[in-house]
């Protein structure tokens, strides 16, 4: 049982929670995730460790309410418990002094990008971050991202805040002006990561994405999370979640993400109907 110490509503459908999870906080690194189970009949779902405090023994998760499990989780309040939190899982993001780097976060993807930018900056990289939201109401963690980057660029789809457009629009301009970018980290919806990958391939810039495959075990024993990378089958949870974007078969990933569409709808309808 893991206690919720703090809960914050970050925007429409976006929630952050600070959890008491000492053994995870002790060793979590940017890029890792946990698998949680909210209730006895619940599903196991992966969520990134968006922040951790080794001294206090806490981790932060940030999630978007999109289906039954995330809705159930959002109903929990400070002082309540989450049944299971297993982790930290997956391999930490490879971070060293690269030089000039860009971190791209789309929507909920900003939460996992944050500890990565922070560590990149700590390691002495020149970090430019680009974060994208649907509109002004959805903006969260702006201050945090600012402090974790040397330069922060913001885009909203409707132009209500920052630049109008997608993160890829901002990235496109940046790639034209900044010629010494050596590495790009992109986390967000699969379509966004694919668009970033297509764009950076032309410039030959190494691009790392953190994949969001469906998972069951999170420890490499079921194969639910398998993806094709460089023509080979990999398990996102144990071989990733970070992969070289230019090697990932995003079309396959997107198809696999949609496998349970029908069942997810059934679960959500019953949930909304009060079941």
């Amino acid at each position: 049982m893991f206690k919720i110490l703090k809960k914050e509503i970050l925007g429409p459908q976006m929630v952050s929670m600070v959890l008491d999870a000492k053994s995870i906080a002790k060793i979590a690194e940017p890029g890792q995730f946990v698998i949680i189970r909210v209730s006895e009949k619940g599903e196991r779902i992966p969520l990134t460790v968006a922040n951790f405090d080794r001294v206090k023994g806490t981790i932060t998760i940030v999630f978007q309410k999109i289906g039954k499990t995330t809705y159930l989780l959002a109903e929990k309040n400070e002082g309540d418990f989450i049944l299971d939190v297993a982790g930290p899982l997956g391999n930490p993001t490879e971070i060293e002094k690269f030089g000039k780097v860009v971190c791209v976060g789309g929507g909920i993807g900003i939460a996992p990008v944050y500890p990565i930018s922070r560590k990149l900056k700590e390691e002495g990289n020149d970090v430019i971050s680009i974060v994208g939201f649907r509109s002004k109401d959805y903006v969260f963690w702006e201050e945090k991202m600012k402090s974790a980057s040397n330069k922060l660029l913001i885009a909203t789809n409707d132009g209500s805040y920052g630049e109008k457009g997608f993160v890829t629009d901002v990235l496109g301009k940046l790639l034209e002006t900044e010629k010494d970018i050596v590495r790009i980290f992109a986390i967000g919806p699969a379509v966004m990561m694919k668009a970033v990958a297509d764009m950076t391939l032309k410039y030959g810039i190494k691009t790392i994405v953190s994949l969001n495959s469906l998972m069951v075990c999170g420890m490499g024993m079921c194969g639910a999370c398998r993806v094709t990378v460089g023509g080979e089958t990999k398990f996102t949870c144990s071989d990733g979640p970070d992969f070289d974007a230019h090697q990932v078969d995003f079309d396959e990933l997107m198809k696999r993400l949609a496998v349970y569409k029908e069942e997810e709808q059934i679960a959500m309808e019953l949930f909304k109907g009060g079941k």
Partner: protein, 466 residues
């Protein structure tokens, strides 16, 4: 005295009925049936059955106790060598172990040792429910901590013995429940989860502690345990890494590893979706690839989820199937369609990325290979397709590499199995291993035997004897 040549039959759910539910198939002996069957044992002085059992249960003596209706004595005798008799009595490949050598087998059916073991264990569970719990005696506390990795049969039995020897034992388990393959792999209709739970609850009563959601190699490393004050570590992490064939289309929607399929259904109870949140595809035409116990379990599970056709595609013949004979018969009775001497070449998908066909090739058997079984060879030009909307790949699992990868100096063999000496010691002092992580996928009883052997070695190690 003349012995009845026929074994006392055990009642079963009818095939037509059971293929629609997840309830247990064989129903167990009544007291009267157990005594009749116990009387078939000759109490022969050579008792080869004991040698046949990997943990050497004193079989004639426990059977004699059944005859005399002293069931508690029978329980105690079994418990001396086997902590999970309700499990092994159900899933042991008895026909290849204790029963294959039984003397009565020379004139008729061997004594149904497994069924008798199950009867005794179930009697014990009922008796415990009435509050008559007898905990095994424990030695005085030795003031030393031992960490056990994995709550499968190997880890559980190692923990139980160490607790009896007086050690302070904690089991670290990656999943949220204990049992290993017993809870996520073997289906409810062969091994009810309530029975596994009940057997495991004995460990808690004996003072064994459990830490769930704890993945060694990630949450903590083996070296970390020694820093935390543990004096010895036992690795019983099993052989959970699913193998795929790496043929085109294998990542299409609707294609599962048997591990994923069974974990969703058994551990996460996807067969009760949407009451439980984890979904599973309810397919109409299912292909299961493989011929072992796991393939049979997956096929029979798919049937119970409502499939109209379940094709079990196996590259050798029926006689070469590694599954237990009893399970092959059960599968056939329930209507699983065997597609023998055939091997998948590729999967064909629809426009949404869901599997719709599997293309196979016919095989013939050639010379025996290193495993002693005749090697299957493809017959050129014999390709054929089957329409399916789901496929389950059950071609085996190998040890999960995560512990080896995160433990410098831990020696492994060519399939990633952890190497141990005759005392179950690994290449790192104070670290022991046993079960499927050492042998590759094997059986419940061999894993238990390994866990117990390791407990003895750990005791000797901590006393400075090895």
């Amino acid at each position: 005295m003349s012995v009845n040549k026929k074994a006392t039959p055990m009642k079963e759910q009818e095939a037509t009925e059971r293929r629609k539910n997840f309830l247990e198939v064989p129903l167990g002996y009544t007291k009267e049936e157990a005594i009749i069957e116990a009387n078939r044992c000759l109490q022969c002085p050579t008792h080869p059955c004991i040698e046949g059992c990997p943990v050497h249960i004193n079989i004639p003596v426990f059977i004699k106790a059944i005859r005399e209706e002293n069931f508690q004595l029978a329980v105690d005798i079994i418990h001396e060598s086997n902590l999970l008799p309700a499990v092994t009595g159900r899933v042991c490949p008895q026909e290849e172990q204790c029963q294959v050598v039984c003397v009565v087998g020379k004139i008729g059916d061997p004594v149904s040792i497994g069924r008798l073991e199950r009867f005794v264990a179930d009697w014990d569970i009922e008796n415990r429910k009435k509050g008559n719990t007898l905990l095994p005696k424990k030695e005085a506390p030795k003031g030393k901590k031992v960490a056990i990795i994995g709550a499968g049969p190997a880890g559980l039995s190692c923990a139980a013995d160490l607790a009896r020897f007086g050690y302070d034992v904690t089991i670290f388990e990656a999943f949220h429940v204990a049992g290993g393959v017993l809870v996520y792999g073997i289906p409810e209709f062969r091994l009810p989860k309530s029975i596994v739970e009940e057997e495991i609850s004995m460990l808690t009563k004996m003072g064994v502690k459990f830490e769930f959601d704890f993945l060694i190699g990630r949450t903590r490393t083996i070296n970390g345990f020694f820093e935390d004050g543990f004096s010895a570590v036992f690795i019983g992490s099993g052989a959970g890494l699913p193998q795929f064939m790496h043929i085109p289309g294998e990542n299409l929607g609707g294609i599962y590893s048997a591990n994923e399929f069974l974990t969703r259904v058994n551990l996460m109870k996807a067969y009760k979706f949407p009451e439980y949140d984890t979904p599973i595809k309810r397919a109409k035409r299912v292909a299961v690839i493989g011929g072992g116990n796991v393939a049979m379990d997956a096929a029979r599970t798919a049937l119970r989820l409502g499939a109209e056709h379940v094709y079990l595609i196996y590259r050798r013949g029926r006689d070469e199937m590694p599954a237990r004979a009893e399970e092959i018969v059960h599968a056939e009775e329930e209507g699983i369609e065997f597609v023998l001497l055939s091997n998948p070449l590729r999967y064909i998908g629809d426009e949404n990325g869901f599997v719709k066909q599997v293309e196979c090739i016919k095989m013939q058997l050639g010379e025996p290979d290193s495993s002693g079984r005749r090697r299957p060879i493809p017959i050129e030009g014999s390709e054929f397709t089957i329409d399916i909307d789901e496929a389950i790949v059950a071609i085996g699992t190998i040890p999960n590499p995560i512990i080896a990868k995160t433990t410098p100096g831990l020696k492994t063999g060519k399939h990633g199995e952890i190497l141990v000496n005759e005392n179950m010691q690994t290449s790192i002092r104070g670290v022991f291993a046993g079960g499927d992580i050492v042998t590759g996928a094997a059986t419940v009883i061999t894993a238990m035997g390994a866990g117990r052997a390791a407990a003895k070695s750990i005791d000797r190690f901590l006393k400075g004897e090895i």
